[in-house]
Symmetry: D2
Amino acid sequence: MGAQRVGVVGASGYTGAELLRLLASHPDLDLVLATSREFAGRAVADVYPNVGLPLPFTELDMDALASLDLVFLALPHGASMELGVALLERGIAVVDLSADFRLKDPSAYPAWFGSEHTAPSLLEQWVYGIPELHREAIKGASAVANPGCYPTAALIALAPLLASGIIDPATITVTAASGVSGAGRSLSPGVHFSHVDGNFKAYGLPTHKHTPEIEQELSLLAGTDVRITFIPHLVPMPRGLLATCIASRATDADPNDAADAFYADEPFVRVLRDRLPETKYTHGSNHCLLSYAVDVRTDRVVALAAIDNLGKGAAGQAIQNANLMLGLAETAGLAGHGIYP
Amino acid sequence: MGAQRVGVVGASGYTGAELLRLLASHPDLDLVLATSREFAGRAVADVYPNVGLPLPFTELDMDALASLDLVFLALPHGASMELGVALLERGIAVVDLSADFRLKDPSAYPAWFGSEHTAPSLLEQWVYGIPELHREAIKGASAVANPGCYPTAALIALAPLLASGIIDPATITVTAASGVSGAGRSLSPGVHFSHVDGNFKAYGLPTHKHTPEIEQELSLLAGTDVRITFIPHLVPMPRGLLATCIASRATDADPNDAADAFYADEPFVRVLRDRLPETKYTHGSNHCLLSYAVDVRTDRVVALAAIDNLGKGAAGQAIQNANLMLGLAETAGLAGHGIYP
Amino acid sequence: MGAQRVGVVGASGYTGAELLRLLASHPDLDLVLATSREFAGRAVADVYPNVGLPLPFTELDMDALASLDLVFLALPHGASMELGVALLERGIAVVDLSADFRLKDPSAYPAWFGSEHTAPSLLEQWVYGIPELHREAIKGASAVANPGCYPTAALIALAPLLASGIIDPATITVTAASGVSGAGRSLSPGVHFSHVDGNFKAYGLPTHKHTPEIEQELSLLAGTDVRITFIPHLVPMPRGLLATCIASRATDADPNDAADAFYADEPFVRVLRDRLPETKYTHGSNHCLLSYAVDVRTDRVVALAAIDNLGKGAAGQAIQNANLMLGLAETAGLAGHGIYP
Amino acid sequence: MGAQRVGVVGASGYTGAELLRLLASHPDLDLVLATSREFAGRAVADVYPNVGLPLPFTELDMDALASLDLVFLALPHGASMELGVALLERGIAVVDLSADFRLKDPSAYPAWFGSEHTAPSLLEQWVYGIPELHREAIKGASAVANPGCYPTAALIALAPLLASGIIDPATITVTAASGVSGAGRSLSPGVHFSHVDGNFKAYGLPTHKHTPEIEQELSLLAGTDVRITFIPHLVPMPRGLLATCIASRATDADPNDAADAFYADEPFVRVLRDRLPETKYTHGSNHCLLSYAVDVRTDRVVALAAIDNLGKGAAGQAIQNANLMLGLAETAGLAGHGIYP
């Protein structure tokens, strides 16, 4: 069997660029198409000299997409709704990296994103793409909604605690901090180097649009409706994301043991016992580093998760999902180790 | 009246260096002495070319100190206990920048710092040096314990909320993030540039030694015993500190209004309405920027405070305290604006 | 005598913002006006929370300018030509921070900037504003052309060597590196934090537009026509500039001695003997740090100069010039020490 | 044929860690041994969580080394001389990443490194390991001296110019700038994050110890004795190196054409025509990006080369050399693309 043919739609952003980088050395996927309005006609190697691909960026062309086995959609919010549906109708598997198909509840779209979903009846068929939570469903799916970076870290950190009833789901707060690539490649005063360097801030208060996605999955895990306070921050670094989750204890069980058991066979999740997660150790990889502590004075649990927001938080996880969907080894093309220092 | 004579003991660390920088252009204080074992014999201008002072660093000499009006102690924890007491006995005013005199409860020292306090009976006479909370006491004091950087930000953020009963004191969590200078000038693998750059992490879990200091002052404000969960983080930037405080609402009062009222006449505290605090705007200054938000979905209040950890979080506040103790204008020597970008 | 009244035209850029910061605490200058098309109507304190000025930005208004003693022009290239001339005609002193009046040779404007100068006959009356080279002329001037950041560093480094004949003027190369604020506040992919952080590059090859300005002044110093190769680089830091100048030796004289003599009484220039200049020690100040070495193997001299590109390289030097023009102490408002770390 | 067995001696430094990272996913080399006095007994995965290898670090043991096909020596200068000779005597191939075997002239060691070489008669048998210059010799070698990071960049930039006689070899200056990992993992005040961040400086003036290595190879290329002025600088970034080389033109030939021809078939060298090299595009890879410009005003050529100092400047090139020595595909294990942003 030859390699399966894949394409990336919307390859001019950082997430798209990371998909190109990873696909360029994927042993079992053949990257044959990358669309970008901004860069159409130029070779990938000219736009991104780090990725030496001669493949030219092209304009979006439905017929060209129709010949592929799987398409990664890396478009801005709202732009995937129609295209995602159209691709599925033609029998092409899709991993969508936007928020367009992540929420099961159609009413959440107007509430959180300001406009109605255009295909509400199809939302149920999209699988929320965290393999550590939904592996079997992803294996059988042709439509996967790849999670946001913050939700990925928060959910991997909190899942073992909710699954084992260690924390009170009504008390969860998540403060998280991301590198600047999480804000995308678009220009604004807030991403000017001179402004960001030496700067740290919170943003998106009090209701960042990643909140409902986290709550949806936490509610599934807890078996009850969960609402959280989620506060994202911006760190002066290009990549990396740390979620710091705090909740009241419901039992005396050791959260580290719970996480060890929950993630025993996971290739990309590691529970650290003797040190705390640092984002740098995930730089450029698909790994998630976890650590747990109990504050006995206040009877609270602290759960920490570090990922690369463009790796496990976006493009890496998208490839992990695609591997599962296409019947490949889950780790194919993701074996590279993080770069340090 | 001529300028009053001051000295800095332990001037080789970052906090000491910042004191030298600020004192070098203070209009009413005359810096006549700076001690440093490491740099004794060398001119300040040679060690720190940014501060063009010809003053030589000297070894610690009690007789030399005895001629001063006020001494800033910038020594490691534990090293100020004896010296602070000795200076007071000789009638010299002291601002101590360590944790040695911050806690009123002697039993907190063995519990949090691992050893007994050597002068427990004197702890009551030290004033906790946040002028916005204890201005009148500081004015009359000859002994001021200058607060830690994290406590300064957290307390200034939370004080109006507790004073007005807006939040439930049993539900407070503080996640905060500091630039690397907060860890001091000492060398360790954790401060190597190649390790820190592009890296973000939590540390000191679950009970950082700044916790009791925050709890002591919050309890005073709340009129009840307060315990918090406090999680510090390290940001890849030299200076700057942001405290993100979350607590459940106890009333519907607007936290911004409460803060505006509480800090109405403060020269160094500013409540932002249309934007969120960013550490960069405090870079090199003694200012604290605040902002508040209410998450009505979860009925929680979020309070943010940004400071320069070496400014309002250490040396700047020490000079503000000294100004008050010596009867000078509170803002003397602190009028400089933050550097941006 | 009261403070003299000054204004800043074009105060929305980084150089303008640094002028506002410095003028806000200048003891002898009264900042009464700041124009900005982008920010007109908003208070300085709202746009730049680091500078707590209530002064509102206004649109450019010639009548308002006419009441001032001195105007700082911080406009893009080409935009000062008309305004600079008009202000002088009304008897108002001008410090122009653009390149519009730096070159004496009118033919250099079309050659290097692509368009004719609109007031070529007036170029001679503008004094090139490096006080260390042209102090007496600046004192008597009402029109000063403030130098570029790269020229300031390169000229201060090389002046003692050319003045004393230590180097062969035909062999000079200058490679220099600047922080990102030198590229201005305008947005482009090249200033996105995610692109700049962890990145180092040369740019503007082979003929950056600061070249003729450096050559003009080097030629004056050498008494012969000097041409150089000048290669600028971009450093992932907001501020700071280092010029590394290399030339063949013409005599055996010690360049450090020559520099010591040349800058003996200068308040802002310091020749380091035991260490090399580092940009960080000039952060936020008007200082220039110098160092010299001789490579006897190749018979070449290396001259290093570090400045803050927004300080001595722009706004700081502009205020130094204004002080001289208005008969104030040269160091007024510039006594602040650099911030470290 | 099974994979060949390799080991890394001195794996606790940054170069050693990068070798481990690359070898961990090398398809044809089996990493069976990593020595480190500092980390002996701990697993690689514990020390470097980015590299998930269970392999434990061990103490140096000659018998264990004797079973290997090839050993990478990543020891400090001076420490490889004896071990390198001993391994060769036992018939084990060696790639030494120190300077101990780079210079052919024994007298250069006392002159540049302060002590005599202990095996001067063996220096001739070590091949200087830049495959682009010495590929055939490396293929047949059992002893390769892996070049320094600065020499790699400078030599790849200058080789086409000297080989084609485009520049005057008597006029070469090299100013170069490296990320901080080039200074190693050892702690010193000069690598403290708070000192380095926001800082740029030159160092090692006027005669850095990489100079003779550059001159040796330039002399071979030019066919005449070449001396250069080489000035290194430190950039506030963990990785990346740019060499900016300037020399007078000797002919009118186009340096870009010369470089295109010289590197026509090279897998890791790329001559950019429409943009200049930026270090970021080599981050984590073994690539070298080149660009050339002619300053016709001064008749000088500027040659720029960007590499990752730990990739093509150290560990990547070492693996490239090992691949050639062991008869593997030259690009094996080095196919990964640089990480951006």
